[in-house]
Symmetry: C2
Subunit: 356 residues, 2 copies
């Protein structure tokens, strides 16, 4: 079983949609589906704006934000609190922007006041993550976005593995751009990324001088009203996401997020009682990061969990060996997590015996 932060375990019902015959993507029925999907994504993002559906991984959605909102040479600040924050900076540089780092110790909260003092009149945007997936740390993006709303600096949220797991309200928080995807919080197949721009971001993107074609938001915006996507989309992923959101919205988005939170908190409580401290100061619902006892290496532990229990834990992209991550995304029960907790304790004890 997968305990990885994407891909995630999918329910049987969602998986079976992946085997459906396809309609023509220029047919009226398909356009209706795109309109329905877009309406449901609005609820997911908490916005009256129009989420755009793009065939790419989450990284493609991040590029879509950058090339539409910033012109070459413009300055952006990115939060480096782990691999995915650092990735924002690398991508911004690769795309010709001036990227200024704001460093945050791994697993720690952002010092919002210190961050705000770094934002000058030349800062065109702030590149954030809903949580830093490499550490499990959730950031207080609500406070940051609201603080930026009065300045000419756009807040751009990598919500690829946060939206659908942690609360997010794009309009209420006054975020300017947010990115979600099919295969993380929504537990569908990989293939689609969803990008939403605020009203002032929509204004900005019509003026940006960045070369853009596949990720040109204007082409998507000009066609989405009639349910047309400009290029052949990963159609099965779209049908799955629509079905998943149908189910989530039937019981309510907050109930869905609450269930993930409860699962995550229950697991952390069990692990804490077993002696595993939390690595992140403010953990995301999406995943738990747990400090390992001295002498127990994360990569070796993940290997034993895979070999002995067929439980797949992610490798740490930061290469850290002193904590391990467990995803709570996707089709996963509290019973499965209780079993996982037991296996983790057994394997860690066995490793301690071996190393002592």
């Amino acid at each position: 079983m997968l305990f990885t932060p994407g891909p995630t375990e999918m329910t049987d019902v969602i998986r079976q949609i992946g085997a459906q015959p396809l309609p023509y993507f220029r047919s009226p029925d398909y356009c209706s589906h795109v309109q329905d999907l877009t309406a449901k994504l609005r609820v997911l993002f908490g916005t009256r704006q129009t989420p755009l559906t793009v065939t790419a991984s989450g990284t493609g959605g991040m590029e879509m934000a950058l090339v539409n909102l910033f012109s070459p040479g413009e300055e952006v600040i990115y939060i480096n609190g782990g691999t995915f924050g650092a990735k924002w900076g690398q991508m911004a540089r690769d795309l010709g922007l001036t990227a200024v780092e704001f460093a945050v110790p791994h697993g720690h909260d952002i010092d919002v006041q210190a961050l705000l003092t770094q934002i000058g009149p030349q800062t065109r945007g702030l590149l954030l993550s809903g949580h830093e997936t490499s550490t499990g740390q959730r950031f207080d993006i609500k406070s940051i976005c609201q603080a930026l709303a009065g300045r000419d600096c756009l807040s751009v949220i990598d919500g690829v593995s946060a939206i659908g797991c942690d609360p997010f309200e794009m309009d209420a928080w006054q975020a300017d751009c947010a990115i979600a995807c099919s295969q993380k919080g929504l537990a569908c197949m990989p293939g689609l990324v969803f990008v939403t721009f605020s009203e002032r971001a929509l204004h900005r993107l019509r003026q940006t001088r960045h070369h853009r074609s596949y990720f040109d938001a204007r082409v998507y915006l000009d066609n989405i009203g009639r349910g047309m996507l400009p290029f052949t989309p990963a159609m099965h992923a779209g049908f799955q996401v629509a079905a998943m959101l149908e189910r989530i919205l039937a019981t309510g988005l907050s109930a869905h997020l609450g269930a993930i939170e409860q699962r995550a908190q229950g697991f952390r409580k069990t692990m804490k009682a077993a002696g595993f401290a939390a690595f992140a100061q403010s953990p995301s619902n999406a995943l738990s990061s747990l400090r390992l006892p001295a002498g127990v290496q994360a990569t070796a532990l993940a290997g034993r969990m895979r070999q002995n229990h067929d439980a797949i834990l992610p490798l740490n992209p930061t290469k850290a060996e002193d904590f391990i991550r467990v995803s709570h995304m996707g089709a996963q029960t509290s019973e499965q997590l209780a079993q996982l907790a037991q296996w983790l304790s057994i394997e860690v004890k066995a490793m301690q015996v071996c190393s002592s």
Copy 2:
């Protein structure tokens, strides 16, 4: 039933792969799959080079070619013989290149000698299509690529709807970049595009000064050897393509192409006998384009075919109303085409009665 040039009808066996549970995409088994897929794609492209697997539509693959091979301001020539040739020009301009049109009447062959006289020392690349999908015209890219091999001008082939249907031999023809995708000739789900660079294109792409991130071929090239794809891929599409190529290569690629050709030629013969002349001078195996009798409009005919027979024909992106296109890609039998031919004759006759 779909007679559209992507998406296409998929076999039951391929469709069911879309419902499989996923492995972790950083697992050794998945890396082995990527290596196996890459080896099979080499045969499809006819190359010793390394096809790169990218999550995007075919258009994304075209952008990957442009941003890796050409720097802003450099000149490329594109063949405008229909919508998809024109698209090359628009994309090149949107990405900051100087795009020079070489116009070809719709449905006609390229005058290769006239084209070659247009290529000067400042021409950094020639943007071609294996066939022009909007007209069904197949181009003699073999002659063009071979003529360019001695000049410092790269040949870039949009093979999105040609590779897997028409013969293509990247190395033997000395093509410099070629693009194929999951959902056309290979009749799998949309979501993946495959891009291959020749040796001199690989040299060029290390020197290009275009901003690039998601489509940066260097990141893919640096990881593909160990079976790693840089971002979460559309995994189900990859499993389907590997299974489809397994089947195709078991009987041989030329037998697969021959079967499509035979199906297409049989259909055209039937239609010719029924009074429908071919629109394209040199038709692609991938689709037939058929001239309609005066007074019969393509859009109205497609509407009747959908309504009365559940046979889905593509709309003409050129907005032409005097011919109709029928795709031969995907799971399709000669019997189904014979039935389609009968329906087309019936509907056209009914429309002629109505309009007379």
